[in-house]
């Protein structure tokens, strides 16, 4: 498998940076996510993860999103649901959410994801 790498740019700030590393299992999504046709952007991320976990390797998901719209939140939940199912079938996962401690709403957002996905998401402030 190849790594999955997607860059963002000033012209397309609505796409987050993506770096899924096959060797280490560290999968990072960072920046902002408010693109149109959200499902088109996140489909290859889901496909990569499905292929990766078929090899029974550990996944470390680092989410560093400073803003995401509600469409993106649905796709993020899909990723978390996939990882939960993997964990329930014996796979090893760690999920971290890096957030701006000055953002008044992000802790509630992550708590909602914890409840909806059933995954222990660890909050880590990056400011």
């Amino acid at each position: 498998m190849e790594n999955l790498v997607m860059h963002t740019s000033p012209e397309t700030p609505y796409f987050p940076r993506v770096n899924f590393n096959y060797e280490t299992g560290v999968c990072e999504i960072a920046g902002e996510s408010f693109m149109e046709e959200t499902y088109k952007f996140y489909a290859p991320l889901m496909a990569w993860l499905e292929e990766y976990i078929a090899e029974k390797k550990k996944v470390i998901l680092n989410l560093k999103l400073t803003y995401f719209n509600t469409s993106s939140s649905r796709s993020i939940l899909d990723i978390l649901d996939l990882l939960r199912e993997y964990k329930e079938s014996g796979g090893e996962i760690e999920v971290y959410w890096f957030y701006d401690s000055n953002d008044p709403d992000m802790e509630d957002e992550v708590e909602d994801f914890r409840i909806e996905s059933g995954i222990d998401i660890q909050l880590k402030p990056f400011k």
Partner: protein, 179 residues
Amino acid sequence: MKKMARPIPSLKKNIKTVLSYEGPFFIHILTVFSKYVKILTRDFPDASKKIYKIFFELSQNITYYSAEINEVNKDNRTGVGMFRLDEDNNFYFFTTENKVLREHGIILKNRCEYINSLDTKDLRELKREQRILSQGEKLGAHIGLMQAALISNYALIIKIKKIDKKYSMYRLTVTLDKI
């Protein structure tokens, strides 16, 4: 009128418009305006972060759901509407307005009234339930109005005005504390 669990702030008279736009809501246009939203609200950092989120949530509702469409070609079509950011001494008010089918206006009004009847705890639970139930993929999460209300902590203010037999004008205002 249904019970309101979310307060409506008392409005003062010295309201001024900070930023406004009327036209097609292409994502590139919204991206440019979002930078101005950040700059113009930077004196109140917490409110600025909240307005940024609400700006995209409500504006993208126009992009996807406005009954008035701007079509450049088959690959470039988007909803048309208006947004306006106003302020007084204590609050920011973010308003969007767009054309909707009359029956959709009624649904939106009822949805807003229901959201306004819920306290924060119940509204968060509803949002979680709705997100899990949403089909995702091409249909999004359908929780934008709930998210706006949660960020705001005030009642959503909605006005529906009939245009003709088929359409209404739908206006939504979200209120935010500056501090």
